[in-house]
Every structure is written in C-alpha cells, then in structure tokens.
C-alpha cells in the first residue's frame, strides 16, 4: 500500500486555487451546489488524500501551474494535453471530494453502498409474463458435439 502523502504541502494558497478551479468545473446549477460550498479544498481534500495519497504529486503539479486561472474549463483542457496524470489527479480529487460529501449524496438520492436483503421468493416478472418460457420453446440454439 502507498504511504500517506505530504498533505502539509497543500498550503492555503494552493487550496484556494483548488477551490476556484473546482467551482469552475462543478459550479452551482440545477439545484446542486458548487464544489466549494462542500469544503472541497478543506475537509473533502483531506479525506481524498487520506484515501489516495498517491494523488498528491499530481495535485501539486496541477495546482503549481494553475496561477490565476480565468477559465478553469479551458485551462483543464490544456492540462489534460500537457500533463495527463496531473489532470487525472486533479479531477479525481475534485469529483471524489464532491461526491463523497453526504449532502451531495442526499441530493442525488444515493444512499451509498448499503446492504439490502434480496428476495428470491417473489415470482420474477419474466416468469409471470411467460418471457422465459418463450425462449425455451424456441428450442436449442447450440451446435451439438459432432460424432
């Protein structure tokens, strides 16, 4: 397993850059909040890095060249061409931080991966509708072993 990464290198300025870029890529729209409103560059970034410390070098490279980006989408397209692994690290961090947040999951109607008993006792729709029977009645579709 990879060792925890140097999250201390992601100082306030770099975190501010991350928040601005994240809001450009995932802005408020359609009833969903902007990325920075779920603390994308604070607690969410820390959670992502704790899980995937291997992302840190790519994030640092991406944020290191970000500067004052006016158009985050166009800038990210250029980064994707110039440094694909930094781009992957950056967008993975933003998307994971956003969609791991409980409020975003609630808004999406996604409960997370939760156990749920399966019910095999109920007659499936395909049986009730006779759909399986019709496949069977069409007969074999395999070629038998030749003599």
């Amino acid at each position: 397993m990879t060792r925890p990464g140097p999250s201390h290198e992601l100082d306030g300025e770099l975190r501010d850059r991350l928040a601005r870029l994240a809001d450009g890529l995932i802005p408020e729209a359609g009833g969903m909040p902007a990325a920075s409103s779920v603390d994308i560059a604070g607690t969410q970034l820390d959670s992502v890095i704790a899980s995937r410390p291997d992302l840190v070098p790519g994030i640092l490279r991406a944020l290191g060249v970000a500067g004052d980006v006016l158009d985050p989408i166009r800038w990210s397209e250029a980064l994707r061409v110039d440094d694909p692994s930094a781009y992957d690290a950056l967008v993975t961090t933003i998307v994971a931080g956003y969609y791991m947040h409980p409020e975003i999951r609630r808004l999406l109607g996604y409960p997370g991966q939760v156990p749920q008993e399966i019910n095999v006792g109920r007659l499936p729709d395909y049986a009730e509708e006779g759909l399986l029977e019709r496949v069977y009645e069409r007969g074999p579709i395999y070629r038998p072993t030749p003599e």
């Binding site: 890529l25 992502v48 995937r52 994971a96 969609y99 999406l108 759909l131």
Partner: protein, 537 residues
C-alpha cells in the same frame, strides 16, 4: 536456506490451485501451496466505505501495474493491445471478479471440426459436464437450468439472483426481437448455502465481497483443504522450479517477504499461477538441460496467449434503476449470435452479459464515463442522466489462438525480488475485429429496442484482460502441446499445469467455471493414477 517437503506442491492459491488443493487434501495427500499474495480479510474490502470508488482505482485496481502491491509483479504490456488484469492473494483473481459463471458450449471444444479453425480440445463438453456439475455444488451457483444455449443438464443448486430494476425492459426487447436471453448463472449466493451468507447487494463485487457471498477459493475451497491438513504459505514468491534426475521436478525455490530463500520439495508439482504467471515461471526455470524453459520441447510455453477482446455497449435509460446496488456482473446473458454464421464475415461468436453500469457517482462523473465535456454548468445534468440510469452489454469475443501472441521474459523489467517480469506481445486478429463490429451493432439494436435514450459504444476496451488463457495448451501430441489431456507436462512426468494456460481455444465466455471444472478433472486424474505416478527418488 530452509526446506520443507510435501506430497504435492501447488503454486498459486487462486481458482485452479484451490480446487486442486481441496480435492487432493480430501483424498489424503499432504499438500503445500505457495502463494505470493496474502489472505484477505473481507473487512478490508472497500465496498463498505464512502471512498470505495477512489480505492477501486488504485489499492483495489485489478491492474497489478496500477495496484503495485509488494506481492504483485509488474507486467510489460506496452506491446499488447489489451492490458492483463489479475489479483495476487489466496483466492486469486476471484477476489476481484464479478462472479459470472457460464459454461463453455459444446462447439467451443470442437472449433476445428465444426468451423475449420484453430484446434479441437482433447475432451468434449460431455466429458467435462460432470465436473461443471460438481463445481457448481462446491462454489454454490445461482441460476436456472434449461437455457437452450446449452444441452439439458441438472438444476443449479441455488435459485437465480434478481434481475434488478430496468433489466426487464431489455428482456422484453429480446422477446420482441426473438433473441435469446437467460438469467445469468452466477457464483454469488442467492440464498444461504453451506454456512455462507447470501448476497447483500453491496454492489462492490469487483473490490472484494464484504459478505463472503461471492465464491472465491479462500472462502469455498481452502478452508476445507486446511481442515484436511493442507498448508498455505502466503507471501511466498516462487523464483524457479528445481529439476532433478530423470527429468523430474523435485520442488520449488521461493523468496519470502524478508528476502530469505526457501526450498519446498515434493513428489508432484502443480502450477496454478494463471496463464501469465505459469508461463513466466516455466521460462524462469530454464536450465542447461532445458535452455528454453521447462516443459517447452514444443516451443509453445508462453505462446497462444488469449485474452478475449471485449466491447461494451451502454444504454442510457430514462427510468431510475439504482444500478449501484446488487451484483455487478451479468444479470442476463445473450448467446443469440454465439455460434458461427459465416455470412457475417467471421467465425465463432461472443457472449453478451447485461450488467448495471457506472457503479457509484464518482465513476459516473469522471470523464472516462461522462466524457471530456462533463465540466461546467452542464455537469450536473450529465451526471444525473447517467448515474443510476445505465445498463451495459459486455461482449466477450472468442479469441482464436495465434502463436505470435505470447508471454516472454522482459530483458529489463523485474519484480521487487529482482526476478524478470513478464512481457506481453499481443494483438487482435481481423476475425476478432469483424466479430466485435458485428456484435456491437447488434447490441446497439438491443438497447434501442429496449428504449435507451442514447447508446454509447466502446469497441475493444484496453483495460479488459481478465481472461488469461492458452500459454501451455493441452493436447495429445507432445509436438504441438505442452500438457496432456490430464494436465501432465509431456516433458516432465511429475509436473502438472491446471490453470487457464491449458486452454486450447478460448471460447467466448467468462472462463473461471471452465478453469475450475478442468482443475477438478485434473485432480481426479491425479488421485486415480497416483499409484503409477513417477516421483523423484
């Protein structure tokens, strides 16, 4: 160097190693298994944690080059159109598979006789059928008998898993089209079975089953083998097989996690390290007497690598389907176009597996699934359209053997112990490309008929080398095969190969059922003929 002894030494604790280990231990043999990976505790599996999708991309990736665990070995796949996938640990790649459990069909064993291509297997579907049935009981297979794509056979031990939301629309579409479909057989428990829990719909089968409902030999075979005295030595990377007098193998040398070297001697050695690991080990074990590697008088060790070219056709549907829950493998399968029809411009065919698509929201929102134009104000609409709204046909095309597709030893790349890594040279054939084109077009028709709002297609997915086959093929003739029909190396009387390396052709279905059933057949043969087995003095 420390040393130990056993009747039978098995190298690799995955699907085939587990089956052989259990059968031989139950028959009273002293079994030792060397496994370079470890036992995994289901509590480690990430499916129960919010960051499960993040870890699925790295720590639980099926690609050893991405995962880079200490027990993994790197694979040079720069010259391969498909990247090989695997997991090193007790249970092997079954830890990360989907649990799909189809059989091959009768024609898969007779492609030369029926279609004039490649080679026939030295056994028939009918000869393997009793082993398919025994393995189904051992692993606990859920499904329904009566599939007209196969000869009539006995009922599967457990009722089928539910199809899940939305799949019925595809079923109805196939009913209208008059196309085959059938509830997919799965090595995931639909009801409690032999003390194991049934599926709890975690939806994270491919990062390890937290419930133990999905069959893998760490759950289904090794505990029973250990009850009968088998020993699994984990963290043991085999460096080479040791040859002795009389062209017999005497054991294997392995390196533990501290770097110390050990020797395990045995009367019989069984290779079960998958079609890349097994070929690599035979090549690594070259001696002055066997300069091209062990068991390689045919020159076919490492040759005829097959990996099933794979395509995906995804339908985006209006109705929400909660596709993040339930088993992630095949809910139904379709073999409508499996058998050869030469008017299509190619031979053989493919199985289609219908599965829920995208997993969790991370997968749905990243450009790999959502496209590079996913950013900006449109982001949320694109994610909502896809997340929980997609079903995919996964299409496994038969991969005909080609001696130029191969595993060899890399000149420079090594694993953490300095052993040469495998290098893959692999390309798809014109037949495979035509096959995938045809099947992708038909699968698109299926999705449209089912009411998909849009259909995405991915032809020849690169990161899809789950099915590693063919690098030590079996056959009756030592000049054209590596092992005989019972898995015994033609050149070495006490060396057996029991994994997917022995496949003569690939078929067009997920191979773990056939790998396991063949391994059980080989183990039965070993037990039956143990009295006449040549062993080192």
């Amino acid at each position: 160097m420390s040393s130990a002894r056993a009747d039978v030494l098995i190298i690799g604790a995955g699907a085939s190693g587990g089956v052989v280990g259990r059968r031989l231990a139950e028959a009273g043999f002293d079994v030792v298994c060397l496994e370079q990976g470890h036992w995994r505790d289901p509590a480690e599996y990430p499916g129960q944690r919010p960051d499960w999708e993040l870890q699925a991309q790295k720590q639980w990736s099926p690609d050893p080059n991405v995962r880079q665990n200490a027990e993994d070995y790197p694979v040079n796949s720069e010259e391969s159109e498909i990247v090989p996938l695997m997991f090193n640990g007790v249970g092997g790649s079954m830890i990360l598979y989907a649990g799909d459990w189809p059989r091959m069909v009768p024609s898969d064993f007779r492609v030369r006789a029926l279609d004039g291509v490649a080679d026939d297997w030295p056994l028939t579907y009918e000869e393997l059928e009793p082993y398919y049935e025994r393995i189904a009981r051992d692993v606990g297979v859920s499904g329904l008998a009566g599939d007209p794509a196969y000869p009539e056979g006995e009922e599967l031990p457990l009722p089928p898993l539910p199809l899940g939301d939305g799949v019925i629309d595809v079923v109805r579409a196939h009913d209208r089209l008059g196309w085959h479909w059938w509830p997919a057989p799965s090595a995931i428990l639909s009801v409690p079975y032999r003390g194991r829990h049934p599926c709890a719909q975690w939806g994270s089968c491919m990062q390890g089953c937290p419930e133990g409902a999905k069959a893998s030999t760490d759950v289904t075979h090794w505990p029973r083998a250990i009850e009968h005295g088998a020993r699994v030595i984990a963290g043991a990377r085999v460096a080479r097989l040791i040859m002795g007098p009389g062209s017999l193998v005497t054991g294997a040398e392995y390196i533990d996690e501290t770097g110390a070297t050990h020797l395990t001697e045995a009367d019989v050695v069984v290779l079960a390290a998958n079609a890349i690991g097994t070929a690599r080990l035979l090549l690594l074990s070259a001696t002055k007497e066997f300069p091209d590697g062990l068991a390689n008088s045919s020159g076919l060790v490492g040759r005829r690598l097959m990996m099933h070219p794979f395509a995906v056709v995804t339908g985006v549907f209006e109705r929400p389907m909660a596709t993040w829950k339930g088993n992630v493998g095949s809910r139904i399968h379709c073999l409508e176009f499996y058998e050869t029809d030469t008017s299509r411009g190619f031979v053989r065919g493919a199985k289609w597996s219908l599965a829920p698509s995208t997993g969790g929201p991370l997968n749905a929102a990243l450009p790999a699934r959502a496209g590079d134009a996913v950013w900006g104000a449109d982001h949320h609409r694109r994610v909502r359209e896809r997340f929980g709204h997609c079903l995919s046909w996964g299409i496994f095309g038969e991969d005909l053997p080609d001696e130029s597709n191969r595993v060899e030893l890399d000149d420079e790349l090594t694993d953490a112990d300095g052993l040469p890594a495998p290098k893959l040279v692999y390309g798809t054939s014109e037949n495979s490309r035509r096959l995938l084109d045809f099947h992708v077009d038909r699968a698109c028709e299926s999705m449209v008929e089912a009411g998909a709002l849009s259909v995405d297609k991915l032809k020849l997915m690169r990161d899809a080398g789950w099915h590693l086959l063919g690098t030590a093929r079996m056959g009756a003739d030592p000049a054209s095969s590596v092992v005989n029909p019972w898995g015994k190396a033609h050149d070495i009387d006490n060396l057996y190969i029991v994994d997917g390396s022995v496949f003569v052709t690939s078929g067009g279905v997920n191979p773990t059922n056939t790998i396991s059933s063949l391994a059980l057949r080989f183990a039965d043969g070993l037990v039956r003929r143990s009295g006449s087995q040549r062993v080192p003095a």
